[in-house]
Amino acid sequence: MSAEPGRPWPEAPLLFERSRPGRRAGRPPRPDLPEVELPDSLRRARAPRLPEVSEPELVRHFTALADRTFGVDTGFYPLGSCTMKHNPRLHERLAGLPGFRDLHPAQEDDAAQGALELMWRLQEMLAEVAGLPAVTLQPAAGSQGELTGLMLMRAYFADRGEERDTIVIPDTAHGTNPASVTMAGYRLEKVETDARGNLDLEDLRAKVNERTAGLMLTNPSTLGLFDEGIEEVARIFHDAGALLYYDGANLNAVVGISRPGDMGFDIVHYNLHKTFSQPHGGGGPGGGPVAVRESIEPFLPVPRVVREGDGFRLDHDEPKTIGRVRGFAGPFGVFVRSYAFMRAYGPALKEMSEAAVLNANYLLARLKDVYELPYDRLCTHEFVLSARALKKEHGVTALDVAKRLMDYGFHPPTIYFPLVVPEALMIEPTETEPKERLDVFVDAMRAIAREAEESPDVVHDAPHGRPVRRLDEVRAAKSPVVRYLFEDHPVLVEAE
């Protein structure tokens, strides 16, 4: 029963609180065979305390949790850098076809030709988009694509007998870049962003040398700006014998317009769950294929999907490979979705990026008079505003604006990233939003700016219309409760 009659959000007890001894849903098959004796040392002594619930309650539980979750299907989700576009339902049908869903990854190649063909065709299409010839589909996400790319650099230079230990990264970089650098065993060198939001070429020249293995760059950058000096940047690194890595998180801005390979990048990762519409599933799954130049191809992970005559097979023996970065050939279900997505657009994929950039610039044009724009340029598929002024004048922060947007029915943008912009609001509408949605979002953003002036408290106290209000995050981190503890579970909530 709703503890507060009339409050539209029903209570959502934990599954374990819905549990009752002896209650159950599933009943697995029990063949008429003798039970097997196990030595006590191997036999489980105490049963795991899994929930004991009936199927009806299980369905209601997940339905209730879904109702407390906001997705692209629910509404506008301009989360910068995450490319939250529409995810076609067709893809769920296709990924669920028995021929794919029930196909064992160790199935013989001759009995998996359809799957192999799909992966091979996807590789070809991705290669064309990146302007680089060789693709591996194996990496599980963008971050793993980064790590794979760095391992490829290591293998490439080792093969040439070169000792290079440094990776250059701009101050606007996403956190995964430096983290990947460390995991790959490289040193980090930071480079500044100039006044127009491009890489600072002076700073760059000073930092690139014979120890430099390469650059990791997102272009357009996390500021949503295309680096106008990209050709010179590439020259600097290539002249130093170093490589350029392209973080594909922002590829949605330039598909069919400018290809990383043509920009001078040697290694590229794609985020299939951003540009190519794999639904993000509340955190994952994703896909992070990597494309490279001929010179780097020999080092790609195995197995590789190769064509032989009219057939396709998994090639496991590549002498120079870095090895394997995940199980099997990659997240196949993700490939089905991205393959379908690219086949739907065909050569018109360019229109996708054009619409994404048009939508972003339209929002920018209609918002920059009320929110500060640190880099006053046309943007690409996303842009970064600053709430610095609002904060100074009315004590309303980027966080406050984000929370208040919830009350207007929108998911907030990315905030406080990139770090170079104070009180950053990073807004990415994507190509699938209709103009009306953008207009009401503009209305909301402008209304909030007014509220910040006229009634800042309503903004500070936001959100008002969600299942919970703002959380005590410090408490969560100081004395972490990261699992249910049954009878020992701390009672956080007086109310209950």
Binding site: A140, G175, Y345
Partner: protein, 442 residues
């Protein structure tokens, strides 16, 4: 077909508002020299009906488990995926949400992850679980990264009976971590205690798998003890579907437990996407890689959930992060939560008993020599009188895929066939396998 929403009229109004005359102008920031002067060379666009038909035709070219009676396992298993999973996967709110950075918008998925973490901890006997890793291979590398930081030793030991792909991934990652990898061979299908004890001496961690890749039950408690005594972390790679009948790693001295989640709630799907799980004892909580959801309260004192301990993570710690992972496998992990909750403790135990019984029955009934004289959970390795590849070829002509050829990964095992059963298989299925193997091997 496109999924765009802008009409020509919209475009005009928007360009006017921006103050440019064409979309091309928006791209002038892209230097001439790097623009693609031509159309993308991609196959023609397809409407939904045509696209569906094309992809269905590709799917038809595959021989899936509905088209032959398959005993393939070797890390991916066809346990039953209950229909409650469809509720999780088909709800657009779960499907199309991003990582829950804004907790007020995502209480549902946050609570579900918290429940998932609890279920994983219960299965493994641990105190903390992350919100999922990419798969059963990468979580092994993650675990090594943890070991690397809590110890100044620069070596990890892998039992050779640990999945080949798991070992390969660890070997790919290890150089970056500055770790050396040592493998310990098996003896009659299980890991040799003495050699593990020896190898563990100067090792940061020892990784083994239970049940192991060869289908045998390892003396897991002894292995863990040997590792701990040598001052190395004991890390067990476990099958979630076995943990209703097999002891939890946390109960026999393991510091971390990892595994491939596919068997619990995901379809094989030609290898992914699935989820890997990683759980640990409480002392490792601030070294855990990946997302973790914690419980707290909101301003009104209502219980609420939030991503926590983010100082571990790359967007704050950057190069000092415990991992670079951001996107993980949440949706698949939630399918696992739904499946394990649907089974409950009794159901999970029953699945385990059924696997044990069917494996034992197969061992008896199949007219081939078991390759190893050990206990099985759900897989049995048999020696074949002719090359196992040939056995597979012939059996498949009879509509049965008899299993996995261990020679794919292990020297000198070209005549060893690894047969997997799950609770979905019946006694009659095993009889059919036995009869077909009898035919094709004689």
């Amino acid at each position: 077909m496109s999924y765009l929403s802008l009409t020509d009229r919209d475009r005009e109004e928007m360009l006017a508002a921006i103050g440019v005359s064409s979309v091309a102008e928006l791209f002038e920031q892209v230097p001439e020299g790097v623009r693609l002067g031509r159309e993308l060379d991609l196959p023609p666009a397809l409407g939904e009906a045509e696209l569906a038909r094309h992809v269905e035709e590709l799917a038809e070219k595959n021989v899936h488990s509905g088209r032959e009676l398959s005993f393939l396992g070797a890390g991916m298993y066809d346990h039953y995926v209950p229909s409650v999973v469809d509720v999780v996967l088909s709800r657009g709110e779960f499907l199309t949400a991003y990582t829950p950075y804004q907790p007020e918008m995502s209480q549902g998925v946050l609570q579900a992850i918290f429940e998932y973490q609890t279920v994983i901890c219960e299965l493994t006997g641990m105190d903390v679980s992350n919100a999922s890793g990419y798969d059963g291979c990468t979580v092994a590398a993650d675990a090594c990264f943890v070991a690397r930081h809590v110890s100044d030793r620069r070596k990890v030991v892998l039992a050779e009976t640990l999945g080949p792909q798991v070992r390969q991934v660890v070997k790919t990652y290890a150089p970056g971590f500055g770790l050396e990898v040592v493998e310990v061979p098996h003896d009659n299908g299980v890991t040799d205690l003495a050699r593990i004890a020896d190898a563990a001496k100067d090792a940061a961690a020892v990784l083994f798998q239970q049940p192991n890749f060869l289908g045998c039950l390892e003396p897991a408690p002894e292995l863990a003890e040997a590792a701990s005594e040598a001052g190395a972390l004991a890390i067990a790679h476990v099958d979630p579907m076995s943990l209703g009948v097999l002891e939890a790693p946390g109960e026999y001295g393991c510091s971390l437990a990892i595994g491939e989640g596919q068997a619990a709630g995901n379809w094989p799907s030609y290898g992914g996407p699935h989820y890997g799980f990683l759980a640990a004892k409480g002392d490792f909580i601030r070294r855990m890689p990946g997302r973790i959801v914690g419980e707290t309260v909101d301003l009104d004192g209502r219980r609420a959930y939030v991503l926590t301990l983010q100082t571990r993570e790359q967007h704050i710690r950057r190069e000092k992060a415990t991992s670079n992972i951001t996107t993980n496998q949440t949706l698949l992990a939630l399918a696992g939560l739904a499946t394990l909750s649907w089974l409950g403790p009794d159901g999970l135990r029953e699945v385990g008993e059924t696997c044990l019984s069917l494996a034992a029955y197969a061992r008896e009934r199949v007219p081939l020599e078991p390759a190893f004289d050990q206990l099985s959970f759900k897989e049995v390795a048999f020696r074949t009188p002719i090359p196992a590849r040939e056995v597979v070829r012939r059996a498949r002509e009879r509509g049965v895929h008899p299993g996995y050829v261990l020679g794919r990964d292990y020297e000198g095992m070209d005549d060893v066939l690894l047969v997997a059963v799950t609770e979905k298989k019946t006694v009659e299925d095993v009889d059919r396998l036995a009869d077909v193997l009898g035919e094709v091997c004689s």
